[in-house]
Every structure is written in structure tokens, then in C-alpha cells.
């Protein structure tokens, strides 16, 4: 009797310990929002929300400091949009090729090889960009400097491509085989089957893949900081230097005094980033769930 009670107690204890460990993720998410919010809230109190809509980011100035997020958001948007434009044909094209057109042996070599790209640290990609992409962009477009939004977008696309390929490849492969057989039996060619049947059927998964890729692009810091030139301009011109939100935090956090307005402003930038990626991921997973592409 005594022994039985002991075992039951142990069972319960184990269960609750494990549940506690699982709840840690909830706790961490709450802590992230709390600690970012805490510092950012200080900014809303003094100098106020209005300051964030200013069109200039000049955190250090002898006359008047201004903490407008507009140029930073603009920079991030420009780089992200361009990276997305580059990423879609490469990512989707390659995933369709690997999932449907490549021979089995070819697929088994291509997949792990592309996964290597996902493992390369972003600072190494940035280093590669610094020495290869930046001079190349400068030369090809005849610019004065290759440190611009375009170089950043190329690197970011490169970094997001493995994410896009791996998720959309899964989506394409999860399309029921019957669709393919039916289409082929109706006399459609292989390419027609791929583009008119399989890709449309896998579209929600492909869209999700692209969105998760975009999420990765917005949050990427080091590579983009190393090649975009980092001047906070409001511009739509890919050949101009931009400063993204992530790069701003990474570059300036080291030098700001704790608790200063500048310090709080950087946490506001962090909040904007956090919310943007949060929404992107939420939508992506809602789509996946709706079309039952994940469990």
C-alpha cells in the first residue's frame, strides 16, 4: 500500500515537472513581451508616441535628437520587398524542380546540399557579401558604392532560400499522388501537370513557405548590417544605402547609455520587429493549419 502511494506520487510529480518545463515557452514569450514593452513604454511616456512617426532617425545630434522610425521601417521594407522578389523564383522554382522533376538520386544530393546553406552563419554570408557581392553590384550597375539595399537584398534572399525550398518542397510532396495520376491519365503533359495541378494544390504551403522566408529576412541582422551601408534614408531606390531596423539595434545598442531616450527608442524598434514577425508567422501557421499541411 505504502509503495503504491509512492509510485503514484512520483507519477504525478514527473507529470507536473514536465508540464512546468513545457510552460517555460509560454513564460519566455511573456517575458520577451514584458521586457521589450517595459523599456519601450518608457519612451511612449517621454517623449511620446508622436516622436516615433518623425521622418528622421537622428539619435545623436547636437541640436535636436529625433527618433523617427519611418526611415528604418522604410529601409527594412525596401530590402525585404526586393529580397522577396529575388527569393520567389529561386525558392519556388528550385522546390518544384527538386520535388517533381529531379531524379531520385539527384534529389537526395540536392536536398542536403541546399540545407548546408541554411547552416552557414549569417556573419559568414555577410563576409562573403562584403567581399564578393558589394564589389559586384558596384561594378555591374556602375555605382559609386556597392553598399546599398540591393546588395542586402541579394544576401537576404540567399539566406531565406533554404527555408522557402524546404517548406514548399514538403507542401508539394504532400499533394496526393492521385491528383498527378489523374492529370496524367487525362493526357496532360508532365509540365502541365506540375504547373496546373500540383503547384495550385500546394499553393497554400508555398505561400506559407514564402511568408516564413520573409519572416527570416525581416529579422536578419548581421549580413544586412555588413552590406547595406547603414544610412537612415527614406528611399525606394535599390541602389541607395539604407538602414534596417535590425541593423540599427545591433549597431547602436553597444554605445547607448542605459535608460536613455535612445536606449528606449531601440526597444521600440525591437517591439515593431517583434510584432511584424509575430503577425507574419501567425498568418503562415493559420494557412498551414487550415489546409492541414502540418499536424
Amino acid at each position: 500500500m505504502q509503495n503504491w502511494r509512492k509510485i503514484l506520487f512520483k507519477e504525478k510529480a514527473v507529470k507536473y515537472t514536465l508540464a512546468a518545463a513545457a510552460s517555460m515557452s509560454i513564460l519566455i514569450v511573456l517575458l520577451i513581451f514584458t521586457f521589450l514593452g517595459k523599456e519601450a513604454f518608457g519612451f511612449l511616456y517621454e517623449p511620446g508616441l508622436k516622436e516615433l512617426f518623425h521622418t528622421r532617425w537622428m539619435p545623436v545630434s547636437s541640436q535636436r535628437e529625433s527618433f523617427g522610425l519611418v526611415p528604418l521601417i522604410c529601409g527594412s521594407l525596401l530590402v525585404t520587398t526586393m529580397a522577396t522578389i529575388i527569393m520567389i523564383p529561386f525558392g519556388v522554382g528550385a522546390s518544384v524542380y527538386i520535388a517533381e522533376l529531379a531524379k531520385p538520386r539527384e534529389r537526395e544530393t540536392l536536398k542536403p546540399f541546399i540545407e548546408i546553406l541554411a547552416c552557414i552563419p549569417s556573419v559568414v554570408i555577410g563576409f562573403f557579401g562584403l567581399l564578393i557581392i558589394v564589389p559586384m553590384v558596384k561594378k555591374v550597375f556602375g555605382l559609386q558604392s556597392g553598399y546599398n539595399a540591393l546588395s542586402g537584398a541579394i544576401l537576404l534572399a540567399l539566406m531565406a532560400i533554404p527555408t522557402v525550398i524546404s517548406i514548399s518542397e514538403d507542401a508539394i510532396r504532400s499533394v496526393p499522388k492521385d491528383y498527378k495520376s489523374a492529370s496524367l491519365a487525362l493526357g496532360a503533359s508532365k509540365m502541365q501537370t506540375v504547373w496546373r495541378v500540383i503547384v495550385p494544390a500546394a499553393l497554400p504551403g508555398i505561400i506559407t513557405a514564402v511568408m516564413l522566408g520573409i519572416g527570416r529576412v525581416i529579422g536578419e541582422t548581421m549580413a544586412v548590417m555588413m552590406v547595406t551601408g547603414n544610412s537612415a534614408l527614406i528611399t525606394g531606390n535599390p541602389t541607395e544605402s539604407v538602414r534596417t531596423m535590425t541593423a540599427t539595434i545591433a549597431a547602436e545598442m553597444g554605445e547607448v547609455p542605459f535608460g536613455s531616450t535612445h536606449y528606449k527608442a531601440l526597444f521600440c524598434v525591437g517591439i515593431v520587429l517583434l510584432i511584424a514577425t509575430f503577425i507574419l508567422n501567425l498568418i503562415a501557421f493559420k494557412i498551414l493549419k487550415k489546409y492541414r499541411m502540418i499536424g
Partner: protein
Amino acid sequence: MTNSKTETIIFWFMRSVTYSIVLIIAYIIFRIIYLGIPAVNWEFLTAMPRKSGAEGGILPAIVGTLCLMTGTIVVALPLGMAAAIYLSEYARQGKFTQVIRMAIITLAGVPSIVFGLFGLGLFVIFLNFGSSILSGCLTLACMILPIIIASSEEALRAVPLGIRQASLAMGATKWQTIRTNVLPYSFSGMLTGSILGVGRAAGETAPVLLTVAAFYLPKLPKSVFDQVMCLPYHLYILATQHPDADKIRPMQYGTALVLLTLVLGINLIAIIIRSKIRKKYKW
């Protein structure tokens, strides 16, 4: 006829797109190996840096990165595995489980620099750990937690239900079943995922930048409250912040090579373990 011509063109277009990605990857790796090898020698790996990194070695950066990796795994591994065991073995469909899953998905999407800010706010300042190995490890552990949970869960789910049922039918309790009949078969799979997570932590710069990394610190850490240099940040400094960045390319390529070898080596180990498991257990 024209139809099949367009088809061939599309096919070759997609094939070239795929192979151009492969080519870029091969070029990056080849270039770093080719230009990095001449710089890497015994002194480079075991000496302190001199003249703010322009000469000497990168020992403190290597040691720093290894410390961070060890610390991160020590924190994240038990937590991630326990969470995965709960989610795959105990959790029922319900609000609580849903909230946990949502939290994990959210964590997986948080940009690394935001983790840096969070680590700075919570560990460095609020808990007063300062810029230290401890703060860095805790921050990185939070970051790789979703990776560990996801792959551990996958490893647990790979164990057939029949094994659990057989054990329960023999009168074993739930935890006894898990401990003696589920974990032994899934442990190496769980380890694989954790290794991948650590690989990611090793290459990450942004969170480390805000919570632990020293710009230039030619000495080895003595306690978990010390700052350290680490490889990715050191490469960043050498490549962009150093006054003679153009003249010390070999040092940069050497550092990049060591970092790349470390990260790809970790991933290779994970892949080998994974293929061994696949051979060992065929349910």
C-alpha cells in the same frame, strides 16, 4: 511541337535556377576554404590575438564560442527534452496545449536580435548578470528551445504506439513506460535535434553581441560572469570595424574557416547520428 519546346525551356529554366543555388553555395564554401587554409596554423588556433586582432591567433574567440555552446546546451537540452516529452506523451488536446504550441511557434519566429534585446533587458540588466557567459547562454538557450522541442517531439513520435501499449499492458505506469520503453529508443534522435540547435547558436551573432561578446579581450574566461570574445562577432569586427580591414584578409578568412568548420562539423555529426538511428531502428 511548340508546346514541348516551351516545356523543355521551362524544365531547363528550373534546373538552372536550382543548380545556380548549388553553385553559389559551393563557391562560398570553396572560397572560404581556399583562402582560409593558408591562414590557419597552430599559432592561429592557440595564440592570443595581438594588435586588436591584426596578428596572432583567435584562441579566446574559439574558447568563448565553445563555452557558449556548452552552456547553452546545458540549459536548453533538459528543458527542451522535458517539454517535448510532455507534449508528445502527456498533453491532451486542449487550451493549455494549444497555448504552449502557440508560444513555441512564436518563439521560433522571433528575430535573433530581439532575443538579444530581451537578454539584455532581463539577464544583463534586470537580473544583474552583466555582460557575461551566463547571460549569453541563457539568451541563446531561449532562442534554440523551439528547435530542440520540435525535433525531440519528432523523435518521440517515431517510437511506435505498440511498444507503449505493450509496456502499459504489462502493468508499468506511464512514467515507467516512458523511461524504459520510449526514451531509450528516442534519446539519440532527441540529441540530433539539440546538436542542430547548438550549431545555430554557435553561428549566431546578434544576440551574443548584446549579451556577452567583448570587442577585444585577449584573455581566457575564468567564471561564468566573465565576458568573452566569440568567433562570429570576432569575424564581424575584423571584417567591418577594424581600421586595417583590407590588409588583414587572411585573418578574416581564417576566422571564417574556423567558424564554418565548427558549424558544419556540428551539423555533420548530427546527420551521421541521424542516419545511424535510421539504420538501427526500422519499426
